[in-house]
């Protein structure tokens, strides 16, 4: 079954028909939003689109198809394979991951008790975020992440929506499978929010490499400990670090001889220093590479690469090493960069 057909089956029957009949390229579909009593909306090719009552795109709200609360309930029934009870924990967290790696955000009336959030019932808002893995997006970045044939401790930074997680995923894949800059490594991924590997019943729906082990829906701190203890990783990857507890866990990782690959919010190293835990990591030179992404030219554009001393190695599409000539590792910088560029 192709990806589109597999995805369409989660929707209630009429919505399924409307979406299937749309003239669109599935690869450019980013989000499908269902809101009770509101128009059915898509985020397609970075643009918001409305769907008409007879299918096809429309521009006027008055012509748009309105989703009923009943259709959202039916959609939830199909998403959960008639087993909403099996997703109690995911509903409490406000999202679930389905086959194909797509992530579904949930909202509605929250039921709470003394222990916290018990459930969301009824669920009246759904945001289906489609998973589109971009294999090869890290190709030009990989030469910078190796030093003498071994991976560097790397932190990928950006503002939200700039492709940090997509880039992280491809770096993990390339570290795991190996590339011309280094052999394949055992990678451990602590996927707290199921965004990196997008596991469905424990099986990654995204390609994260042949030597990668994943702890899905596990807290970062606990997950890093567990990985170190049981899976013997050479590289450990986590998403969105920033707390004091993360810092302690990261220090254990590095002290065990693992290479660390992580992401954090921020569009510069200076901005990182505004957060106490990250400031300490910068001061202690925990990371050997800082990769800053933006969306100036496209999502996932590499704006700059810095080393542990915060010297720019690459910025504004210009390599700073070219001016310096040969790199200390004996490999001609120009050889690597001409391929990367």
């Amino acid at each position: 079954m192709d990806r589109k057909t597999q995805l369409m089956k989660i929707f209630s029957v009429h919505i399924r028909e409307l979406l299937t009949a749309l003239p669109m390229k599935f690869d450019q579909l980013q989000e499908i939003r269902l809101r009770a009593g509101r128009p059915l909306m898509l985020l397609y090719d970075n643009e918001e689109r409305l769907i008409g009552n007879e299918s096809g795109f429309v521009t006027e709200m008055s012509q748009a198809y309105r989703v009923s609360a009943q259709e959202i309930q039916e959609t939830m029934t199909f998403i959960s394979h008639y087993s909403i009870y099996a997703y109690e924990e995911e509903i409490r967290q406000g999202f679930l991951t389905i086959q194909g790696g797509h992530r579904i955000g949930l909202a509605g009336k929250v039921l709470s008790d003394q222990k916290g959030i018990r459930s969301i019932r009824p669920i009246t808002f759904l945001n289906v975020r489609l998973a589109h893995q971009v294999q090869g997006c890290a190709d030009s970045l990989m030469p910078w992440l190796y030093e003498n044939g071994r991976p560097c401790h790397t932190l990928i930074l950006s503002s939200p929506g700039c492709g940090k997680t997509t880039m992280l995923r491809d770096v993990i894949r390339q570290f795991s499978n190996g590339c011309k800059f280094g052999k394949g490594r055992r990678v451990g991924v602590v996927d707290e929010r199921s965004e990196i590997a997008a596991c469905y019943r424990g099986v990654p729906q995204n390609d994260v490499g042949m030597r990668t082990d994943v702890l899905d829906a596990c807290s970062k701190v606990r997950g890093m400990e567990m990985m170190l203890r049981s899976m013997n990783p050479e590289v450990l990857a986590v998403d969105e670090i920033g707390s004091r507890e993360d810092l302690q866990a990261i220090e254990s990782v590095i002290n065990c001889g693992c290479w660390l690959l992580a992401t954090a919010h921020g569009d510069s190293v200076e901005k990182l220093e505004l957060r106490p835990a990250l400031q300490k990591m910068v001061e202690r030179k925990v990371f050997e590479r800082y990769v800053i992404l933006d969306r100036r030219k496209k999502i996932g554009h590499v704006e700059a690469i810095l080393n542990a001393d915060r010297d720019y190695l690459y910025q504004n599409d210009r390599c700073h090493l070219c001016d310096d000539g040969m790199r200390g590792n004996g490999t001609g910088c120009r050889e690597i960069l001409s391929e990367a560029h």
Binding site: K9, I10, R16, T77, S83, I84, Y85
Partner: protein, 138 residues
């Protein structure tokens, strides 16, 4: 039937699996025709054709339960279960299964009692028939 429901109860309680998976596991552990019922139902649920679980359960039950000796009352107990499964939390699933098994238990107790009574009646009739034949011969 009761055995298969007990297995399904165990699957949901222990693994918390989705219904199609729990039902498929149960199918592998019980005999025909219930294994066929559960296997087909599991497959239909995975297809996600747009039907409610109640209708899928009913269609499969009608197809396979006619091969059993179950009375209409017994079949109704089983059919009603399809209306309750998939609703609310895991405790609700277990309660629905326990409720159905309790009803089946009651049915079995009633049948056993009436069986004992019928056995007594048959024996009495047999003895009386014997006396009648003796009287005729005399």
């Amino acid at each position: 039937m009761r055995q298969s429901l007990l297995m399904l109860h165990g699957e949901i309680r222990y693994t918390g699996a989705e219904l199609p998976e729990a039902i498929s596991e149960t199918a592998g552990r019980c005999g025909k025709p219930f294994s066929d019922f559960y296997e087909t139902l599991s497959e239909q649920m995975r297809q996600m054709t747009g039907q409610t679980l109640k209708i899928l359960w009913q269609e499969c039950a009608v197809q396979y339960l006619k091969q059993t000796c179950l009375t209409k009352e017994d079949q109704k107990i089983f059919l009603d279960l399809g209306n309750q499964m998939g609703y609310l939390d895991s405790q609700m699933q277990l309660s629905a299964l326990e409720g159905c098994m309790a009803l089946l238990e009651d049915r079995m107790t009633c049948l056993e009692k009436s069986l004992a009574q019928k056995q007594k009646l048959s024996m009495t009739l047999g003895i009386l028939s014997g006396f009648f034949v003796m009287v005729l011969l005399i």
